[in-house]
Point group: D2
Chain length 416, copies 4
């Protein structure tokens, strides 16, 4: 009578992602479940990194430059939950997330503008990469000296399968947006695309696969099913309530992050890892009707997030860099906060890319502080000062430059 | 040799705000300082509430409906800081904020749409009001039963005076925005307006007052000088670095909030109070040049914020209520998160207005979780569950209605 | 209908404590209430410092050397709570504690060994004193350079009156202990003593006062009524359940501390202040019977304690300085932890007295880590590193001395 | 260039502890290292539970009754740290602690009084046992219904080897104490004893083993080398500075706890587990001389302890259950606090044993609040209310019994 947690999905990091039918990178109600669990069962799911192993632990960003985003995200599942029916809430408790033994590292990348870019693509259009060495709960990087922090490990992606009706709705609305500026770089949306697609167990059934792949949704945006929410606080001990749209719920999970900053601003932007996640489910029958007219998941964060007590906070308002006033634009305000932070940290000797990667991956807080003081929204980004080796408080005489330029990050800026 | 903190500005709540020349409600470099302090000195500033006493402790929202926003905000100051020069950073440490004895109450109002409205003006266009009884560190309301929380007391407004050049820039850019839709209700911006203006000590000099009032900026938005940032975490023990644009810095402070939720979504939306704030300043000479190309203040939050460990979190994405997909729109995503939360809490028996007022005033966290997963931004709003008297966890069978309708908030919805 | 908190006890710091009949310094069921409150009422009580003004804000410790402990503690009250009966629990909520305006300072003293001494009287037998300047939520001392911290303000004393039976029990058991070594210095217990006594309102009735003063208990130890618990975490927002032994409960409060370390090891050892405390009561009828066979109060700490995330911790075990092994002696282990800490901090240039005063007054944590690993108890003392201006981490090459000796504490060591 | 953490000690839970020479259960400078690491290296050490597998995952406490304490603790090591010399501080960073896959359970036992007993052996002399099911970060027990909590995982034992001189000192002082009452049950100390001893790699060399086993120290108490400190806060991310007494330091580690309450009062009292710990070391050369005259290790807790914000706290003073007054006896005060807590929780339907086991294993805080208020020490024990499924606040009318008696803990009380 020993305690034993069942591993329901195993991956092999020495093999290609596309050879492992427990993975998939498109969303569709007809995907085949590759595992089944019953409510109350504790189970463990192994995951590859979101790119399926396209990025290596080295000092070149060529792989980030050339990453095939059409293959993102390689997710584990779908997992069938016995008894789940449309209209239920699927409560998922995240019990543990760990690295796979022997793979104690991760990466953060600035995507090239041709490849989607990041939040600040107009400032940092070129691909860059930082590798993180993970020592137990801590991450540090040879590419971003002077920082070390405890991870806030979480799944970037956790979601149920859409119904056909919901899928149609997604495809319709995203195509409409895309059509407003189809040539935009970076693209306004990632529409269904057969290229790079991988339908997991359905790959054994080419007829069906061919039929649905043209409408299978991409996994990049968060949607009504949860999905790629990239919420850093969905860490160990959290519970999330996901709407169920198809029988069995068909849960998918992946895109594990050892850490992430609010916004995940560099796009491939958490500390991307392969790992294992331990889950437990519970059904709230009819929960979607019982709990109000909600359009998105609910969650309750867990009790073991890293504990910080001191932050340095940068503000931004809805005035762009050309001095144009916008109306209550939180996206723009957050961009200004991030740019202010980057300008500040460059004074310590960092390059802009280093700070950008840091904001994307460290446990910084991104807040909407005020959204009514027309015409300016006030947003802020707060970095825990305890993760930085030196004192960053503004001070008389300014700071001595602390970070020397012989850091190998210069090497990881991909050549265009 | 007793410890004594000097009160540099006193107010009299029994008198009209407009009769007290230590107050002002417009921003201009030529306003006359009403007090002077030297760096390092600990000093105390008394403040009226932002409206200057227009809102009363009663069960009617008529006063919120009719509030004259042209008079907002009645700020204390300007305070001259000896030795401050343009280009410096003025470090302001917020040492303490307290209610004025005998005035242990505050209010939260939903502004009527004609009066600026709130973040959700399209759902809740009518004025409403909740009164908060303040018992030491705790607030509770006879208009929103079932909640009680520790205040995160802070100044909604803390800022330096603009230079003439900066003032011109503000007026120009805000007028340009306003001109894009001058008839919009609610208005896109609040431009300079003589009506309701109050220039403090300058009111004794009508000639000068008349000359500048047409260009004196309104205090509503946060800007490069700090100002009405409405950042709830700027509480006791915080330090903020404000750019100095005029000799003596000319610090203004007011719009004290006993508490506020991120976003301050109801607009007159914190727990608005009169009170006293204790400050200390320090100069970082030339700080605006030493610390990077920043466009906004920096701050470090203090160590005594209320401590919570459990939250319930609602997400939102950039799809509007009509199902239209928008591109990485954090403002819209935050709106969706707030609407989801309101729908959820209505199941307990609350009216929408009650939840709206609660989100605006309780210490809820508003986050930009992901801002790169095109086309959806993911934003969230998190309420500490410890402030609510009953269990709000989603559960099998749904919740029993907890809040009965005999709460007097119905009465405070102003008649249109 | 303004919010107003009633002040039920006022003190005048310009007058002697002994002239103010709202104070008293002995415990007895027959003391006369000086105020009355009803359950649910929010009320404010002003307090003098525990010594009644014997200690001044200056650089000499002569006053600590000569302090008349027979007068301690000057408590405010008793306060009658309407409806309270023996057997009830009196729930007291601590809503707020503030300094009295114009008295923003406090003191910490090492009592001379003849006067009770402190926890380390064998190492530091002489009186010493540190004055703390209080700037809003922060304290710093010209006598202990290099530290500054947010206060964890609390009442050292909060208790109900004993019944005659309970009083007799106290006097009996403490006399028995005292009798085991009546000549010990410092004394084993403080027995009833007419000298220095002050019975508040009863002083107007010399006949009754004379009758009871010989049996009125001293206020120094915590007992079954709560009393001088000196629990630093009984701060703002806390609720405490005190047993009621006499009709009306007869609540006394005083010995306010702006801050204190666990153990309050220097004896007059928190940051001793005059101030005002705001309270609210509630009755749990028959609570002493309903909730088990408890011999002491229960409490729930509040939500606004200063938040720290980094500590340096010193351990101690039950082996004394002569190398003698004791059996699971937590008192001795805690002493060893404190001595280890003092030895460590002396390396930064502090005197032992400075560290002793700091441990007694700063928000350090004192823990019983293990009490079963015979023969050693393991206790520890943890100092938040954020309160110290410099890095205290053990490091290669040791630390540079940071604190110079021209600090005036040398002067405050009283001459013997 | 993948990240890989080296496992330097592996255990096999299917084999007896005594067959694995990487373990040992006595302390002596001449034990043979079984692994070697260099400073800066990240390494992983597997550990059996302290008893070496004597306790099973079932519903009988017979195994706790009969546990052979002479075999405790089976520790992993010693591990040689290259370059460590007597006089150095060995900085050990605890990077991660995890359960061994497939062994997701632990146990807490009340030791029988003949076997050492626990802190409350006079109240609970008989053996009892609770089994904990571990689901990721959470533990719950079929033997203690109504509670669930996040683990504060830590090594109960972490220490260097003593020098011969230090070993002699230990043996001398503990023998002296033992001799004061050699027949006491439970024993005053555990002296060297060949019975049950296991010297690891030295077992291959019977001649040497026989020579030293008579003086090899037992591992039960914490001492100058660290050792069995049982400090719950020595969790992930902590750094501890251990004095080095022999070349290579000879680090031992074991007695892993998934969780523990301050005091570990039931003796075999944390949630005892087998697991793996990941460590990194650093040398502070000559640290024992550089950092003061310390007699015990120093540590800095890590940043990912479970975060709680609400506690219920029970106090105790130095008056024993017979009403006898003791002098500043923190051990007795802590006992009273624990007894008060047990009495309180029995009102919910728990047995005393259940509460005793809970206090020993859950993340409760044990504090020395005041140690100077003669004659009473004030100690307290604080339980996070969030770990309990129901409301434990004292209330009007008392509590309903929540816990029914059909819980199987009755069965696990061993028959005497």
């Amino acid at each position: 009578m020993q305690g034993t947690t069942r591993t329901v999905i195993s991956v092999d990091l020495t093999k290609s992602a596309r050879s492992q039918h427990v993975l998939h990178n498109r969303l569709h109600p007809d995907l085949l479940p590759v595992a089944s669990v019953h409510p109350g069962e504790v189970f463990r799911v192994e995951c590859v990194d979101f790119s399926g192993g396209q990025i290596a632990n080295n000092d070149s960003a060529e792989d980030v430059l050339n990453v095939d985003l059409n293959q993102a995200h390689y997710l584990s599942g779908p997992i069938q939950v016995e008894g789940a029916e449309p209209g239920d809430y699927l409560e998922v408790e995240i019990l543990e997330i760990q690295l796979l033994q022997g793979h104690e590292w991760g990466f953060t990348g600035i995507l090239d503008v041709k490849n989607g870019g990041g939040f600040l693509y107009d400032y940092f259009p070129r691909a860059a990469k930082a590798i993180w060495d993970i020592e137990g709960i801590y991450a540090s990087s040879r590419h971003i000296p002077g920082v070390r922090f405890a991870g806030l490990i979480h799944p970037g992606y956790l979601g149920t399968a859409p119904s056909q009706e919901l899928l149609n709705k997604w495809n319709h609305r995203e195509a409409e947006l895309f059509a407003t500026d189809p040539d935009r770089i970076p693209a306004l949306a990632f529409l269904p695309d057969e290229k790079g697609s991988f339908l997991g167990a359905l790959e054994n059934n080419p007829a069906v696969a061919r039929k649905i792949v043209g409408e299978a949704a991409r996994s990049l945006p968060p949607r009504e099913n949860g999905g790629n929410c990239d919420i850093k606080n969905l860490s160990r001990g959290s519970r999330v309530w996901l709407p169920v749209y198809v029988p069995g719920a068909k849960l998918s999970v992946g895109d594990l992050h050892f850490s992430q900053g609010d916004g995940e601003i560099a796009f491939c932007g958490g500390i991307e890892i392969a790992g294992a996640i331990t889950l437990k489910t519970k059904l709230v029958k009819g929960g979607m009707y019982l709990h109000g007219n909600l359009r998105n998941p609910i969650f309750m964060p867990g009790p073991v997030e890293p504990r910080f007590s001191r932050y340095i906070t940068f503000q931004g308002i809805s005035v762009d860099e050309q001095g144009i006033q916008h109306h209550l634009d939180a996206t723009l305000s957050y961009k200004q906060a991030a740019l202010n932070c980057i300008d500040y940290f460059k004074r310590f000797g960092y390059t802009g890319e280093q700070v950008y990667l840091l904001l994307s991956s460290c446990p910084c807080e991104g807040r909407i502080n005020a959204i009514v003081d027309v015409p300016n929204a006030c947003c802020s980004i707060s970095i825990p000062t305890e993760i930085i080796d030196f004192d960053v408080t503004p001070k008389e005489g300014g700071h001595l430059v602390k970070i020397t330029t012989n850091c190998p990050l210069q090497a990881v800026l991909a050549k265009l």
